[in-house]
């Protein structure tokens, strides 16, 4: 039993990273209506931002805030300089532009920080034992960080006027505009949120693994699948789907081995989408 609980915990922690990055993708998709391939590199930027903040201040919280700010800044700049200019183009044009932005970010970080790995210098701690099950104190902190990031995002989305406007634009952009909602302010709020959430995901991934310019790009595929699996445009769906994918991967390993665990997560996703094409929490969109 303890064996399985350990696997589930490992899966939940991996799932949080997937879920947060999927949340960033799904927010952009829901409101700006294109798949943002620069999400992975925004994660990397968040990880480097947090790393620098942590080195300067010695505090992970300060580092996390700096990382999130860096992610938000890149989100807003990407919108103002690129995506706003292309707003009337097809979403394929926007997708390609976001791939280009991702390349630029990755190359710039490669030049600035080098290609060798960096790590968060955190003290290594022995686990607490809950009966048979070892619990990593670090995992709890990371889960707490992820949880607070989620609370902020959902708080903004569901409790503030700007969040209400964002949801209105997501539901029906044309109707929102005729109701007098300024698209620019909504978009800037969106990119701040999406950039910061991706950055927090990147920071958590960076703390758990190693920080390198390619790390975010490597995590992009599971993030996209979680966004689709959860129902594209659904914030709750993205997080839940991320957790399910993470847990499914780890729990599958005794049966399929480690090489095929990634494939297994995708089998789960395919199965759900066959039964429920709009994803876990997706809404049916009528033809416009």
């Amino acid at each position: 039993m303890a064996f399985w609980i350990e696997l589930v915990i490992a899966g939940l922690v991996s799932g949080l990273v997937i879920g947060l990055s999927a949340l960033s993708i799904t927010l952009v998709f829901g409101i700006a209506r294109f798949p943002n391939a620069a999400t992975g590199d925004t994660m990397t930027l968040g990880a480097y931002g947090a790393l620098i903040g942590h080195r300067i201040t010695g505090s992970l919280i300060a580092g996390g805030i700096l990382g999130a700010a860096a992610g938000a800044l890149v989100g807003v700049l990407g919108y103002l300089l690129i995506f706003r200019q292309l707003a009337r183009r097809s979403n394929v044009a926007l997708l390609v532009a976001s791939i280009g932005l991702g390349f630029m970010l990755r190359a710039a970080m490669g030049v600035a920080f080098g290609h060798s790995q960096s790590v968060f210098q955190l003290p290594l701690v022995r686990p607490w034992r809950l009966g048979e099950v070892p619990i990593q104190p670090n995992d709890l902190w990371l889960a707490l960080a992820a949880g607070s990031a989620l609370m902020v995002v959902f708080g903004v989305l569901y409790l503030t006027p700007i969040g209400r406007r964002m949801r209105a634009v997501a539901d029906d952009a044309a109707l929102a505009r005729v109701s007098g909602i300024s698209p620019d302010r909504v978009m800037i709020a969106l990119w701040v949120l999406a950039g910061a959430v991706a950055a927090v995901a990147g920071m958590i991934a960076g703390i758990k693994t190693v920080v390198s310019p390619e790390m975010g790009w490597d995590l992009l595929l599971p993030a996209f699948s979680a966004a689709i699996f959860g129902g594209i445009g659904s914030p709750v769906g993205a997080v839940v789907a991320g957790l399910i994918l993470g847990v499914a991967q780890e729990v599958a390993t005794p049966f399929v081995g480690f090489t095929y665990k990634i494939a297994l997560a995708f089998v789960v996703m395919l199965f759900v989408l066959l039964v429920r094409p709009r994803g876990l929490f997706g809404k049916l969109e009528g033809a416009r």
Binding site: A10, L124, P134, T209, V210
Partner: protein, 406 residues
Amino acid sequence: MTIDRRTMLQAAGSALALTLTPATGKAQGAPFRIGALNPVTGAGSPYGSGMQKMILAAVDEVNAAGGAGGQKLEAFPDDTQTTPQAAVLAAKKLIEVNKVKAILGTWSSGVSLAVVPLTNDANVLLMNTSGAPALSVPPANAKGLSYRFQATNDRFGRAFAEIAVKEGYQRAATMAFNNASGIGNTTGFKKAWEAKGKKVVEEVVYEPNQSSYRAELQKVLAAKPDVIVMGSFLPDTTIILREWFQTGAKTKWIIPGWAANPQLIAALGLEATEGLISVDSVSNENAPSFKRYDALHQKVTGQPGASNVYAAMTYDMVITLALAMEAAKSADVAAINAKIREVGNPAGEEVFSFADGKAALAAGKKINYQGASSVLDFDQFGDVTPDFGVFFITKGKLERRYVVKI
């Protein structure tokens, strides 16, 4: 006749080219072109720029001694970025645009395995520092144009087994990164370990770029091994060892030197790395050729030569190639290729530098170049057998305790 702009440019261009071509003596034709294709960026970056600088320095050394086989050498540096994709593009450029006859210094098996079909098709020599066993045999080495200056992963695995026996371990488990190099290490270990009548209690092959390796570790540790033998690289080793230390387990580790290096110690700290065993091939440190290399390495990088075993290999590549050219008295790749074993293997007078080898060849003697990286005796597959240094990480320093010969 009308002269359009294109014709004019061509004419002007060829006139310019003529004036720029240096007056060449009979012995000096066009230079023999080689590509210095090294991991300047990416996972190999701690080694790559040193490898490249030593190729350029060795080319200067050969040219200063009057060139090889009547020709000067000319090197074209490029970067593999330690990825097969970038390496293939760079190799294509070196072969098709720069017209190189040999590519020297590819690092990482994935890169060498991706480049070798191109060099084979173009009938170009490839000298690599990678470990994958697949590089020894067809299709990779179907034409016998590929030479390896590093030990194969299989030989690394055999060295790991020698060390595990010497250290008195009984229950060994293995963890391998899922590629030719990682699995090569652990299968080489398993073969040699089982030949000694021991058992491997658990084997795990894991995928790159995972956010956690806890499930993999859980499986390995459940078999209660006393030592875990790795076929791994730096980033995954960092993550695995961090998670291992945090489980509180007390296993010993045997790890290849390119993963258990000073960067790993910097990433994990003193406590978690204490007692790890890091194994790497060691240079031919008592040979005069190593002293030459060491002095040159100091000069061009400011670091001692022993800090980069791969730089010693790339230095030897140029010297070996140049000696083979000298012996072949030709710039023809097939003729040079036929002479590589002749100048590197016994029997013959042992020589330790290009100039000495050239002089001995001129005197009509057979030679056996003793390299800076190893004695460089190529077997039928173009592989060499260096010795292995066994380093114990003690208080954050890699401390060499003994050398293993296989």
